[in-house]
């Protein structure tokens, strides 16, 4: 480790989290290595830019957002290109995370009532690994959504020559996907910040506390720490 300030002890967790994840450092566990966090921030920032440039094109109610970028015609250009960046970032994130996202059979009920039990803060299933069923399903949904947004977006960007029904379908798919994205994103950000303290650090420092891991992802906690003592 280079450039250690002797007056300020090196933050070991930060250093470890540059390259490694799923390891314990003191009271913390590294959840996302640096590359993983960069990817997720790239997806987040490009999505928000697309949101702010797309909403004023979607409806004049949000026309004021266009001012942030210098007008609607700027939005149109920025939206298209940043949209491509969003797709590329989503693709990289997909490759980075897909190995952890296998939905197990018992997690299928996340499609139904388990979501509401989760929102009522009922205890998570002890089998919950690094990602819970909801996160896994969300991962596959947004990955599919990113493909839908990209394909329909390309058609909207270069409509000339395509039959009218395809262009109309592109508008509808782009809008529908965007609406689903925003609705789920509101909860994604809410759960990751206000609703579940300790989560946001995994996107900044890359780490979570042991207690957080034990509560939200018990099987991941056991796998990473080897601590079986609190097995329910």
């Amino acid at each position: 480790m280079s450039a250690v300030n002797p007056n300020r002890p090196m933050d070991t967790a930060i250093a470890v989290a540059r390259t490694r994840e799923d390891v314990v450092v003191g009271n913390e566990i590294v959840r996302h290595r640096l590359f993983s966090r960069y990817m997720h921030w790239a997806v987040a920032v490009t999505f928000v830019v697309c949101l702010l440039t797309g909403m004023p094109i979607w409806t004049p109610v949000f026309g004021w957002m266009a001012t942030l970028f210098g007008g609607l015609s700027v939005c149109r250009v920025v939206h298209s290109w940043v949209g491509v960046a969003f797709f590329l970032a989503s693709a990289a994130q997909f490759v980075e995370w897909m190995h952890d996202m296998h939905v197990e059979a018992w997690e299928k009920d996340w499609l139904g009532p388990r979501v509401f039990r989760y929102l009522r803060y009922e205890k998570d299933d002890p089998r919950t690994g690094k990602y819970n069923g909801g996160q896994k399903l969300y991962f596959w949904a947004v990955s599919l959504g990113a493909v839908g947004l990209m394909l329909s977006g390309l058609l909207m960007w270069f409509p000339t020559g395509f039959p009218s029904f395809l262009r109309q379908a592109a508008y509808l798919i782009h809008d529908f996907t965007f609406i689903c994205f925003v609705v789920s994103l509101v909860f994604h950000v809410y759960l990751g910040t206000a609703a579940e303290p300790g989560t946001f650090g995994s996107m900044t420092r890359g780490t979570v506390t042991r207690a957080w891991a034990r509560l939200h992802h018990p099987r991941w906690y056991r796998d990473v720490t080897g601590d079986d003592s609190r097995r329910p």
């Binding site: 004049p60 009218s164 029904f165 809008d175 609705v183 042991r210």
Partner: protein, 291 residues
């Protein structure tokens, strides 16, 4: 003539002034007396200061295969064999100035497409963002995107001339009288007379093309073969595409409510449940391995 605006694209409440009583105007095109001289094409280019567009030979007398961002008025030389002979069904192709304009419905840029009180549908290049949504909204395949300007362009029905009491340039130039300009009521009356003449002369299917799917157009067209508008390159029943209506009128409000609902839902959840506390956040197990 007043240029009060009846409808404006992407305007939440519209901009209907309602102060003046303005008659809807219309162009009248009689395809049966058109001789294909293209004087209207020239007049359109001249009056609108449009640059020359290179012609394309497609095996007919037609100047270009289709309308262009720099060519707003095109005589289509449709050829049709029947009864052992050939009919030359020439039609002046241009913006139809729909009463319910699909381009305006699809346009996301406030004020980029306006419909004046007199029925003329016009583009405001200042506001146009070049998204081409209007291409999809138009049931007549009229708006054209200019790669040079990054904007769309189409016939303005010479709104600059009409607003000072002149007829459109194409009408002014027509040597056979197949083009007329006036109030919509007058043009429909004139059209009905002409349709009567045609019917009396053996064209039993003659009609005045004023499609009601878009609530009528400010270009009414006499068709000798009114049962086959497609012979002239006109859609039989044009309307604003269903996809565009569904997108703007149904999906958009539902989406707005869904997003609002999600934000309110998150607030309500936080108010009801608060944060999900992690118990014993500070505890540390000294026996566990370190990285």
């Amino acid at each position: 003539m007043s240029l009060d605006i009846r409808r404006s694209s992407a305007s939440v409440w519209g901009s209907h002034s309602g102060m003046r009583s303005v008659p809807t105007v219309s162009k009248y095109i009689d395809t049966t007396t058109c001789i294909g001289c293209k004087a209207c094409e020239v007049a359109c280019q001249e009056w609108n200061d449009l640059k020359p567009v290179a012609t394309e030979q497609t095996g007919t007398y037609q100047t270009l295969p289709t309308l262009d961002a720099g060519y707003w008025n095109l005589i289509r030389f449709n050829e049709r064999d029947f009864d052992g002979g050939l009919a030359w069904l020439m039609r002046k192709d241009q913006c139809m100035h729909c009463d319910e304009p699909g381009c305006l419905a699809a346009c996301p840029a406030p004020g980029a497409i306006v419909q004046y009180e007199n029925g003329i549908v016009d583009v405001n290049p200042d506001q146009c963002i070049g998204c081409k949504y209007c291409e999809t909204g138009c049931p007549f395949d009229v708006p054209r995107f200019s790669a040079t300007t990054g904007k769309m362009a189409k016939c303005t029905l010479c709104v600059d001339r009409v607003s000072v009491g002149l007829e459109p340039a194409c009408v002014k130039s027509c040597p056979t009288g197949c083009l007329h300009f006036g109030t919509k009521d007058d043009m429909v009356a004139l059209g009905n007379i002409r349709v009567g003449q045609l019917k009396a002369n053996g064209f039993a299917q003659a009609t005045l093309y004023d499609p009601q799917g878009v609530h009528g157009t400010s270009v009414v067209t006499i068709l000798a073969h009114g049962d086959h508008p497609e012979w002239y390159g006109l859609p039989a029943d044009p309307h604003v595409p269903w996809g565009v209506k569904l997108w703007k009128k149904v999906l958009r409000p539902i989406g707005g409510l869904a997003i609002l609902g999600a934000v309110l839902g998150a607030f309500a959840h936080y108010t009801r449940f608060g944060p999900k506390k992690v118990e014993g956040a500070d505890e540390q197990d000294a026996n566990l391995p370190r990285a």
